[in-house]
């Protein structure tokens, strides 16, 4: 009789280990998913040239267009709604939070040292650029691991095909 009990106990233990393994593997892939989505959003934002200033030969970022592009590409890549809630079919289950969105434009002195103490992020920009930090919760499949919340940070510099 005790062998049945042993079988059951071993089965439960193995299933728990398996569940933890699956969740941890997926949690790590979530980081890459979020990071690449964020990178593409920043890349789109950093392409928004201010045409009036460009006409005077100054490559600067059009701040309004940059913010709009960043949010649009973030939503498209992570499949989020207008209010950054996950759409049906999205990998994420809870809304994405934009913790910081800063545009470092031509009015600073370059190289510019950006630092955000609150989210522990520092970057040196040699040209105007955009910084964005997002927070998102990993959607757990099983309840065996603690909730994991990722803070993803990224930056992109103005991309101008005009040479230096």
């Amino acid at each position: 009789m005790y062998k049945i009990l042993l079988y059951v106990l071993i089965s439960v233990l193995c299933m728990q280990v398996l569940a933890i393994q699956i969740d941890e593997e997926r949690a790590l892939h979530t980081v890459f998913f979020l990071k690449h989505g964020l990178n593409r959003a920043l890349h789109a934002a950093a392409q928004q040239l201010d045409e009036d200033l460009l006409a005077q030969g100054i490559p600067a970022i059009d701040e309004e267009a940059a913010e709009e592009a960043a949010y649009r590409y973030l939503r498209e890549n992570l499949r989020l709604s207008e209010s950054l809630e996950p759409l049906p079919g999205s990998f994420l289950q809870s809304p994405v939070e934009v913790l910081a969105f800063d545009i470092i434009n031509i009015d600073r002195v370059f190289p510019y040292r950006y630092s955000n103490g609150e989210h522990d992020f520092e970057a040196t920009l040699h040209r105007p650029g955009v910084v964005m930090i997002i927070g998102a919760e990993y959607p757990r499949v099983f309840r065996l691991i603690k909730p994991i919340r990722w803070e993803i940070k990224g930056t992109a510099e103005l991309y101008a095909p005009l040479g230096e």
Binding site: S11, Q21, H36, H43, E76
Partner: protein, 145 residues
């Protein structure tokens, strides 16, 4: 006698315990490889040198995926753009400011078949996993250079 009976009763669960982790791992890795492939194609395709994802790039991508154990003929690529124009034409690259959208899908095949052992009905083998992304093109026509 009783022990044999117990073993037979638990045989299905034991088999599942031994082999299900491998199938689940293959599933996660396939999904990750698809996502990496989509990221790579977008990185190259949206760069200033190309501005498109054409059939030649897709062919090379299929070869890379075949090297990772995928069935190259079952991988499907969908390239669209945010403005609605064709994103696969090397003669007319997508200009800077327009996004290239790529979706790669691959069938699950029978990866969930083993779950039958513990009484879970697997999803349809023809349903597909997918990886996608949108990246803004950097291509600028180099007129007169």
């Amino acid at each position: 006698m009783k022990q044999i009976l117990v073993f037979v009763l638990f045989a299905g669960v034991l088999c599942w315990l031994m082999f299900a982790p491998i199938y689940k791992h293959v599933l996660i890795v396939r999904q990750a490889v698809l996502q990496k492939e989509a990221d790579y194609l977008l990185e190259v395709g949206a760069s200033g040198a190309y501005g498109y994802i054409d059939s030649r790039m897709i062919e090379q991508s299929r070869e890379r995926l075949a090297g990772r154990g995928f069935d190259p003929s079952a991988v499907e690529y969908t390239v669209t753009t945010t403005s609605g124009e064709d994103g696969t034409n090397p003669q007319r690259p997508v200009p800077r400011g327009t996004g290239i959208r790529l979706e790669i899908t691959y069938p699950y095949f029978r990866l969930f078949e083993i779950d039958r052992l513990i009484g879970i009905t697997p999803p349809d083998p023809a349903s597909r996993m997918s990886a996608s992304g949108v990246k803004m093109s950097e291509y600028v026509p180099q007129a007169g250079l």
